[in-house]
């Protein structure tokens, strides 16, 4: 029997593994993102028309939304891990968890909306 009976476990294998797996996927997705946005196009940045044209490629909107979800997952689990290094109290961590999940949800919904808008603008 363990001498130390608490505190409650606040970061287990699955959370860590999700962060690692998301990070691995980001390497590919971010690689594509950086190459398309900075290496391929003359001038190093896509213009408005070029962005709209890019989002007309069939799998790109889905890929970008997936990228958005993955990158916020990785980033915010990482931020939470940094905060856990500070040994926050149960109350502070609860507030942090709610804040991180809320902010991530808002950005993901907003980003998905933006992808849909850009896709529809490109079809006009």
């Amino acid at each position: 029997m363990l001498i130390r009976t608490g505190p409650k476990n606040r970061e287990n294998f699955w959370l860590w593994f999700t962060k690692i797996a998301a990070g691995f996927l980001i390497i590919f997705l971010l690689g594509i993102h950086l190459i398309v946005n900075h290496l391929i196009v003359p001038g190093g940045l896509l213009s408005y028309r070029q962005v709209l044209a890019y989002y007309q490629i069939p799998f790109i909107p889905i890929m970008e939304v997936f990228f958005l979800i993955i990158v916020f997952t990785h980033s915010f689990i990482g931020v939470r891990s940094i905060i856990l290094d500070l040994n926050p109290s149960k109350r502070v961590l609860s507030i942090v968890d709610v804040a991180l999940v809320s902010v991530a949800f808002i950005f993901i919904v907003y980003g998905t909306w933006l992808v849909i808008v850009v896709y529809q603008l490109g079809r006009l």
């Binding site: 294998f13 959370l15 593994f17 856990l84």
Partner: protein, 249 residues
């Protein structure tokens, strides 16, 4: 013929309860082959009897003389003065980091020993488990036991960035001890201790613990191996099926 003497300034961090920490300089004539602990003892004996520090075996077995020398964690009983300074130079001596300082160079090892105690750490193990797997086997596969390498000096805790901000973190030594115990016998309690936010997931792969370990524990390697064991355990438990009863004719 003896080595010519060096004149070295020892800057020692002094702090007694109620005092503000401050460095005090002790110029000392030393034999460069001497160890830092020898100099500290001579400073205590001949210059300042109020200086507090720990010392015991003088041959890197007990682990009590761990301090920071010029910012780096060392066992002062085996740290030659010539390896950390030159003639006319400075040796800066501070207590270990990430431990509460009780007085001068003496720190509170209590929490550390509690973390080690939770692992039910066994100081003796079969040679095959006590040694790192990539080391040559000196026993020619004869089943022998030996004292494990960890001398519980705490240098790894001092060097660990995660231990700087979190007193609940088990720390490299305890995690290495869990790995050592788990390689010998699986225990769900020890696995739970490892698969915990204050266990293996608090390590961020700085590898400083292995850089400063004076005793060949290689805690970083053991922590990464522990993570591998946790990963394997977690995946295996996903595919565990309940035992089926045998049908008898």
């Amino acid at each position: 013929m003896s080595e010519p003497k060096w004149l070295v300034d020892f800057q020692i961090l002094r702090q007694h309860p109620g005092d503000k920490p401050h460095f005090k300089i002790y110029p000392l004539e030393v034999d460069p082959e001497e160890n830092v602990l020898d100099a500290i003892e001579r400073i205590w004996a001949k210059k300042d009897r109020t200086l507090t520090f720990r010392h015991a075996c003088h041959h890197s077995t007990c682990g009590v003389c761990g301090m920071r020398v010029n910012g780096v964690e060392k066992l002062t009983c085996i740290t030659a003065i010539k390896s950390v300074t030159k003639n006319g130079g400075i040796v800066r001596v501070e207590p270990l980091r990430n431990f509460t300082v009780l007085s001068d160079l003496v720190v509170d090892m209590g929490p550390f020993f509690r973390h080690m105690g939770e692992t039910r750490f066994n100081s003796v193990a079969p040679v095959g488990y006590a040694s790192l797997p990539f080391e040559p086997d000196p026993t020619n596969s004869i089943p022998l036991e030996r004292l494990v390498d960890c001398i519980e000096c705490g240098l790894c805790i001092s060097a660990c960035p995660a231990a700087t901000t979190n007193a609940e973190y088990s720390g490299p030594a305890a995690l290495a001890a869990i790995q050592l115990m788990l390689t010998q016998n699986f225990s769900p309690d020890l696995m739970a201790l490892a698969d915990h936010d204050n266990g293996a997931w608090r390590c961020h792969s700085a590898f400083e613990c292995s850089e400063v370990c004076p005793s060949n524990v290689d805690p970083a390697w053991r922590i990464m191996n522990l993570r591998r064991r946790v990963v394997a355990h977690r995946f295996k438990s996903l595919f565990k099926f309940p035992k089926q009863e045998k049908q008898h004719a």
